[in-house]
Point group: C2
Chain length 155, copies 2
């Protein structure tokens, strides 16, 4: 997977100048990339890789999965995307993020919540203090049991 070197707060993605950003890194503007950018630019929130492949196929039926996944890596390196993993380990991409955030996932009922920076401060600060470790909030996914499910006797 790719890495956003600084894990800074995600700026809202600006898809209008992707071509220039690619060129600035010596990378190329191709029809396959144009297709994915188009799909991403009208996608909000969370989406899996498989869903993106599917949506690209609606635009260009000849879409090849490995090309999509490779382009997603490039977009992530450019800082236009980030991903985390669901409790099953599957990738979830975060598109046009308003703010960097992590996730909380209840294993019993399957519900997922977003954890914003202020709520994650305890985690981030704690690891920074004890280890000098810079937590990548956007990749963070915490599993467990929500209040509702904990209350019920036998999940």
């Amino acid at each position: 997977m790719s890495s956003n070197g600084s894990f800074g707060p995600a700026r809202a993605a600006d898809w209008s100048n992707v071509r220039e950003r690619l060129r600035a890194s010596g990378l190329r503007w191709t029809p396959q990339r144009r297709t994915l950018i188009e799909v991403l630019s009208r996608t909000n929130g969370h989406v899996t890789g498989a869903e993106l492949v599917e949506r690209c196929r609606e635009v260009d039926p000849g879409t090849i999965p490995s090309t999509v996944y490779r382009t997603l890596d490039v977009m992530e390196d450019l800082g236009l995307l980030s991903h985390s993993h669901g409790a099953d380990g599957r990738e979830e991409f975060h598109v046009q993020p308003v703010a960097a955030h992590g996730h909380l996932h209840c294993t019993s009922c399957g519900t997922t919540w977003e954890i914003l920076a202020d709520e994650a401060a305890a985690v981030v600060d704690s690891m920074q203090r004890s280890r000098g470790f810079a937590v990548d909030l956007s990749h963070l996914s915490i599993a467990g049991q929500c209040a509702g499910c904990s209350a019920k006797p036998a999940g």
Copy 2:
């Protein structure tokens, strides 16, 4: 994936009475399960599913992956195992755990550290307070950049 309903501190696994534990749940003792238990009972620490399949094959070359994965789920339900996911989302099983723990993974250098309960207290307590959410420490895997890699200019 299976869930250890309570996320309690992991007791050291006792492989001697697995058969009885299975029967107590109406489950069965089969040669395939015996093979996996044998492998698990001499495995310590972290191991991937693929590695376990491989080790089972050394005992019984006829081992089928899906059977191993299904049995791993059963063992997890029995509380004899837990798993988390590497930064790539792949499963890592924790065998014969001395104590429940999470993981810290540096995306730059690839090193992984264990986070014990006291160090994870900030995370666990914070989510419990703000949301009544019971974090499953053994499934927790935090990605980011370690102190050493953060120090270097272009990790």
